[in-house]
Amino acid sequence: MIATHYVYWLLFALMMIGLYVVISHGNMLKKLIGLSLFQVGVFLFFISLGKVDGGSAPIVSEDVETYSHPLPQVLILTAIVVGVATLAVGLALAVRIFESYGTVEEDQVLLRDADDREQDGGAS
């Protein structure tokens, strides 16, 4: 079990560190960094599904017999791009939030938001 599954376990640990950072940290930039860590764990998990012992990169040539599976790699290429796109949008939002609230700490933003709400009376 250990010899055949160690990769999965280590990758799960990696994902969980990322997820923990996303949920428990209040700093928005840190949240986004955590999101990247979480996603990288998932990407590695996909890639590890396609790996074959003794295989090589799925670029066909005459002197190679075993190849790793190309499909997970294609999926993860797409997912990496989606990840960086999300990161860029998240960072742009963080910049705007800093400009209008003066902070990127979620707790402080919420505090200032509560002040807004007292003024205009909308509760959520």
Binding site: I17, N27, H69, L71, L77, L87
Partner: protein, 331 residues
Amino acid sequence: MTTFVLINVTLLAILIATALTISGMRTLYAATMLTALFSLVTACLFVLLDAVDVAFTEAAVGVGISTVLLLGVLSLTRSREAVTPRLRRLPGAVVVLFTGGTLIYASQDLPEFGSPTTPVQTHPLTDVYLRQSQEDIGIPNTVTSVLASYRGLDTLGELVVVFTAGVAVLALLGPLMQPAEAREREVLDLVDYRVLRVVTGMLMPFILLFALYVLFHGDFGPGGGFQAGVIFASGFVLYGLVFGLDRAQQVLPRRVLWVLIAVGPVLYAGVGVANMLLGGAFLDYDTFAPDDAAAGQHIGILLVESAIGVTVAAVMTSIFFGFANRVESSR
């Protein structure tokens, strides 16, 4: 085999250690540099797992673009994280325990790592992608053929996601906020260093040439439109950093960038529509050369890879300009 396991475990251990350090670190500059390191190690791991294309992309994106963007944002906001209150930690810990528990539970029935008899490897798809594709498409790099042809729609979707990100960043940071006075100052003084100036000037053609090589060599080796686009963009980012944004934006005016951002999706979808008009299905490149399917596939793949390259380069550059303009105007 044992060396493989050893390197694998070592790299994973480095990754986990780096991730833990990042999570505990309150100086965000340092955390950003560590995320760059993290991406670099990830890229190594991808190479080890035979995913060279993915490694290439991760290196270009994780080490390059993400780091530049994060640094840009840090210079606009505060670089020190506040202390996380103890109360906040509890929900995170609970969620992580449950999620991690489910994953460990799942791993008991996951196929053995690296085994050639897993459902993934024994599915008929494996044969289609690795052998059949050589006749259907005739490109040695099967990642490229799956990416651009078999699953061409996913790649169109990926391109649209990049386009969306470009539009979203423009909408958030774009032309709206551009105080006129900020444009007058030449802020970045890197241009005063002759070495930097000369080296950058000498490197630029090579960077752009390399990007073109990556774009057109994607059929035979790792690379393709996305990686090429990122390299193109990094060339312009370097130019902007050294010679100042104004010079960079003279070379590549905003209006041109706008057009280039939109050209990619139009071209990609246009290829699909052309296929439909020629009597095939959407993105059926065979229709480009009815007598020689493989030749048609080559044309189609080249066109869509170019479409990806153009839009990715334009989006990444304009995202960088968007953030960098903010930096200049906030000083």
